[in-house]
């Protein structure tokens, strides 16, 4: 199995399906009265968060605890991160304390890769979001949610062949978009990005996806099975990426009118936290087609599966 999880593109089709299948089993555990397995007893998982993200942190924390691992939360925000060496020093400190896995969230793209390939640390590295690069467990939980909605109890062993997925919003800065693109490609789904031109990369020639400016066109033309809305970060609003929030919402936001255009079995996703009234309105967010809360619940199951895959059994010595 894999040694680290850094990118949505790290997994082969079979590896991805295996993790999703394991997550099915974990979901069953989460439905039991006693939501705990002894699998990772004696293992230490460190949540190393250089950036605030309460949701992601507690999801990983819960996942590790349900597998009986010891969990340490290390919030490095506010320390002298800008000095640069602190990533190295922190990693070496955790190594000296014997961390079996480090779940890292960092504002710098590539921080998880640096940690994994630096030789500072031997434990498994899980990328929980690096800058504007990737967030692979988010893409796994999204894939899990899609599979569950479209294949139901027959999900085991299935990929996402034939699904059309529209990903809408700040694609340029979105780690969710990048990880989803890679994993959805692997699992056989089609990806259609929709964004204002200012929020798409200037050169996306290496991406296996269509790039679109009009949400309405994509809804009409592709009749997507999945529409995934991305969060608009506050710092984009004052940097001339688009004129006003109202205009953004009108052209690229999801609302009740657009909800009516979806196929009956299509789903509406959002990685959270939502800006209600900006990229998604309340009617859509709370509609039966919205999977927002399922995504949160599935996040725990998928992260259990990832930690299980990385930490159970002997640690492979080859470098991934």
């Amino acid at each position: 199995m894999i040694r680290n999880l850094l990118s949505g593109g790290d997994l082969s089709r079979d590896q991805a399906i295996e993790i999703l299948d394991v997550a099915e089993g974990m979901a069953n555990v989460n439905d039991r009265e006693i939501k705990k397995l002894p699998t990772l007893r004696g293992k230490t998982v460190v949540n190393l968060f250089f950036e605030d993200s309460t949701r992601t942190r507690i999801s990983f924390e819960l996942a590790a605890k349900r597998l009986s691992a010891d969990v340490i939360n290390f919030s490095a925000k506010g320390s002298s991160v800008s000095k640069g060496e602190s990533l190295k020093d922190t990693a070496q400190t955790l190594e000296a304390m014997g961390a079996d896995a480090v779940v890292i969230r960092h504002s710098a793209s590539g921080a998880a890769n640096v940690l994994a390939h630096s030789g500072w640390i031997n434990g498994a590295i899980v990328n929980a979001g690096d800058g504007t690069h990737e967030h692979p467990t988010q893409s796994l939980l999204d894939a899990f949610t899609m599979r569950k909605r479209f294949h139901g109890s027959a999900s085991q062993g299935k990929d996402l062949s034939g699904l059309k997925v529209a990903i809408v919003g700040d694609v340029l800065h979105s780690r969710v978009a990048r990880s989803n693109l890679l994993l959805l490609n692997t699992l056989g789904a089609e990806v259609h990005f929709v964004a204002p031109p200012t929020l798409l990369p200037a050169n996306a020639s290496n991406w296996n996806a269509t790039l679109n400016y009009s949400l309405d066109d994509v809804l009409a033309r592709e009749k997507p099975d999945v529409v995934m809305m991305l969060r608009v970060q506050a710092e984009r609003m004052n940097a001339s990426y688009f004129p006003t929030e109202r205009e953004y919402s009108r052209i690229w936001g999801f609302n009740a009118d657009r909800l009516k255009q979806l196929k009956p079995n299509a789903i509406l996703m959002h990685p959270g936290p939502m800006n209600r009234g900006l990229e998604i309105d309340a009617i859509s967010a709370d509609s039966p087609q919205s999977t927002v809360l399922e995504q949160v619940a599935n996040g725990v199951s998928v992260r259990m599966a990832v930690l299980y895959s990385l930490l159970s059994g002997e640690r492979a010595s080859d470098v991934n």
Partner: protein
């Protein structure tokens, strides 16, 4: 009695073979079958003798950043690379924006005794781009500064740039521009392109360089002054410089060794040793730069040797410093591009590495052709050697992107003003003084 050397049977840049006699600090004879009485004979069979190299773009880091490099270690690295003169960039601390600082840097260079250290003065006070520094005072100082640059930062204000271009005409100076539109590159981390889209690193678009070059060649034309473009990195920049030269504008251009060899694909490793400004571009840009160096659109190779301590590179990409070493590998990369490619020759090599940079900077005693009466600044290259680059070098820093790569050629001897700073590939333990 001055020292006397006879370098036997070296190949000159025109392909002929000759003996070179050095007496004191001058070349005293060049010819076939010289019998120099009392000279120490150094067999130079198989070596190419070229005018000692001149770097227009070196960061020696002293004063202020001695943990990265000092004038001594930087000039030792230069000597190892075949250089006999380096122009020291102004972004030290304090900034080289006054006569006092440039004289201090020049004095440290003389004390070290490995190459001529020719300070570059800042264009604006503190490199802040707001108020012109005392260019006249630096020009008239003992350091005789002719080249001015805010390198590391762009002189982005068009009025300041225009005034500086005009003002240096008073002493035949030149402005060396670091072409980077600041607003288009806020937070920029790497070349903006297909790779930056994948890696999620903020892009440094080619247009940010090209728009400044376009503006500055037009300003240079308007005020009839000289502008030198530092470290050209894009195919589009080449086109603009080619156009400007055809129009008769007094523009010269420089390319770094790394932009001639490396591409942004290397950034996929997130290894900050590849982080540099301007950033590594695409293969298409590399090919355009190579062609421009060969056809003369680009005039010189400048190393942009930029040492940094380990902690400035051993970290996440965004936190890392920009810059890479270059002095000890530049000649090998020039050989790769000009000679191994089969597309050019040693005469062009000598131009881009020595005579042309000296001409642009108005240097008098460096970058001279190898002739009787010239100052004895000579680099002897073994062109047949292949070497695998290692991290340890004369520089104090190890931010070397070529480690592990095999490059052609090796500087065997460097003669600096008649003194062997490097002999048989080994650095002299003391400088010339």
């Amino acid at each position: 009695m001055s020292t006397k050397f006879l370098f036997k049977n070296a190949q000159l840049q025109d392909g002929t073979f000759a003996d070179i006699e050095v007496t004191g600090d001058l070349i005293s004879a060049i010819g076939v079958g010289l019998l120099s009485e009392g000279a120490e004979v150094i067999d130079s069979t198989g070596l190419i003798a070229l005018p000692g190299f001149v770097d227009l773009h070196t960061h020696l880091r002293e004063p202020g950043f001695e943990q990265s490099e000092t004038v001594l270690t930087g000039t030792q690295a230069a000597a190892m690379g075949g250089y006999t003169a380096v122009h020291a960039m102004a972004n030290t601390s304090p900034v080289a924006d006054t006569a006092g600082v440039v004289e201090q840097v020049a004095a440290l260079g003389r004390e070290a005794g490995y190459v001529d250290v020719l300070p570059i003065g800042a264009v604006t006070v503190g490199l802040e781009g707001k108020q012109m520094a005392e260019l006249g005072a630096m020009a008239n100082s003992k350091a005789k500064v002719k080249v001015f640059s805010d390198d590391g930062k762009c002189v982005h204000d068009p009025v300041i740039m225009r005034r500086a271009l005009e003002y240096v005409k008073a002493f035949d100076g030149v402005i060396a521009q670091h072409a980077q539109e600041p607003r288009l590159t806020e937070g920029a981390q790497m070349n903006e392109g297909a790779v930056s889209a994948e890696l999620g690193l903020a892009g440094w678009p080619a247009v940010a360089e090209e728009s400044i070059i376009a503006r500055d060649v037009l300003l240079a034309e308007h005020v009839n002054s000289r502008v030198h473009i530092c470290h050209l990195s894009t195919a589009g920049s080449v086109e603009i410089v080619r156009w400007a030269k055809a129009r008769g504008i007094k523009v010269t251009a420089e390319v770094t060794p790394h932009h001639l060899l490396l591409t942004d694909e290397l950034v996929r490793s997130y290894n900050a040793v590849y982080k540099v400004n301007p950033p590594l571009r695409t293969q298409k840009d590399v090919l355009a730069l190579r062609e421009a160096l060969i056809d003369g659109t680009i005039d010189v190779i400048g190393t942009d040797h930029a040492p940094h301590p380990i902690e400035a590179k051993d970290c996440e990409w965004n936190a890392a410093a920009f810059g890479m070493l270059g002095l000890e590998t530049a000649a090998s990369i020039a050989q790769e591009v000009l000679i191994e490619s089969g597309k050019s020759n040693w005469a062009r090599f000598a131009e881009v590495m020595s005579t042309k940079p000296a001409e642009i900077a108005g240097d008098v005693e460096v970058g001279q052709e190898l002739e009787i009466g010239s100052v004895a600044n000579i680099a002897f290259i073994d062109p047949a050697a292949k070497r695998t680059i290692v991290a340890e070098s004369a520089s104090k820093s190890i931010n070397n992107p070529y480690v592990g790569m095999q490059l052609p050629g090796r500087v065997l001897h460097t003669v600096y003003r008649g003194y062997l700073t490097v002999r048989d590939g080994v650095l002299a333990s003391k400088g010339r003084n």
